[in-house]
Symmetry: C2
Subunit: 238 residues, 2 copies
């Protein structure tokens, strides 16, 4: 870390870091609550989450503005410029995560009755995995820990594998019992949202790598969500 002659410059960077930590905390909180709302069908909690999303959106704008003004005022180079660019990108990923958590919460209103236990189990597993990825990547960012970030990056394969298996499961339920089609459709979208949250955690991990090492990860990220090309027959076999 280089020391800066201009004190207020460090203050600019520190304030960006603080705002991002706050934004990350909010996103994590929204995701945890969205899982609760949906699995317990708590409509009031869902409404709270939908309302709170504005706070995340507002923080993204504030961070972006602060970042751009800092660049214009201080003309940073190398590591400092990278720090600010990465802050802008992570804020954008967190805004998307907030949006996706909000979408998960919204599905609460669409599901009138208690969810069958087997459906809740899959959703919970998926949600807890995405939440764990988000937590770890935010900690890695706070600690500028590229190794921990790479663990998140690697682990995205598991999130995708779980998503694939839940996708299959939901389609099978729909085929077995057409009365489940409406509920399962909403769960398909909610699960897809959780899988996308995993992707954004992976984006953040890539940016931490770039921040620490000054270069991007060469080889493509693991991508194992294969559901978009999955063909099912009427018996639900892929």
């Amino acid at each position: 870390m280089s020391d800066h002659i201009v004190k207020s410059y460090d203050e600019d960077l520190a304030s960006l870091k603080t705002m991002l930590a706050k934004m990350g905390g909010l996103a994590e909180d929204q995701l945890a609550k969205a899982l609760d709302a949906l699995t317990k069908r708590d409509s009031r909690l869902a409404d709270q989450i939908i309302q709170n999303d504005e706070k995340i959106d507002a923080l993204e704008l504030t961070i972006e503005e602060k970042a751009i003004l800092t660049i214009a005022k201080r003309q940073p180079v190398a590591h400092d410029l990278r720090q600010i660019m990465v802050a802008i990108r992570i804020a954008s990923d967190l805004e998307r995560i907030g949006d996706l958590a909000k979408n998960v919460a919204k599905r609460t209103h669409a599901i009138p009755d208690a969810l069958p236990r087997k459906l809740v189990a899959g959703l919970n597993r998926m949600g807890q995995m995405s939440l764990a990825q988000l937590k770890q990547v935010l900690d890695a960012y706070g600690a500028r820990d590229a190794v921990a970030a790479m663990e998140v990056w690697q682990h995205d394969e598991d999130v995708d594998a779980l998503y694939n298996s839940i996708f299959r499961e939901l389609l099978t339920y729909m085929m077995e019992d057409p009365r489940m089609i409406s509920v399962c459709t909403h769960l398909l979208f909610a699960t897809k949202n959780l899988e996308r949250i995993g992707d954004h955690a992976t984006n953040i991990a890539e940016n931490i790598y770039y921040l620490v090492h000054g270069k991007t990860i060469k080889d493509g990220r693991p991508k194992k969500d294969t559901t978009s090309t999955m063909i099912f027959d009427a018996a639900g076999k892929a």
Copy 2:
């Protein structure tokens, strides 16, 4: 428009504008081809689209870097700073649009047989509407035309209304004939992707407004995608 004493500054801004126009053209092209690939089940075209997405991703990075370096070098204020911030944001929306078009294309591989004509019709209507929104908003950006941008913004309601009706239709088909569940699930996701492309066109419209007027649109955007809270009974009635 203010003239700049430093010639190369204008060149920086012009080059950003050119890169964005190129990126917008690519995104439009990818979307048009994705609709073609999916409705005609052209797997080779789908593969091309999937590959081409890299070009859009690369352009986003180049635009972001160019923008940040221009801010650091030139320390712009007011309208010029706004121009560069908006370029970064629009590049991010175009990258997402490219991603969503790629996802639409991917579904081509999942649908083995010819689509029933009634399903193609809905998908086509939805796709043409999103494509028209994207075209108009890109033209509006090129011309810095806030009025045309606001038309796109208003029109997003119609995109959402159409999405709602197709969502209903697809669920009804699934309930009537469980053999359609797999195909309709893929079409549900593809249609949702097209609806999201409409949202990104709306984001771009908001940024054009901000660029031209120096302030954001006060009242919230029209939001009429209500499918996330739609409850269906077994007969497919909402």
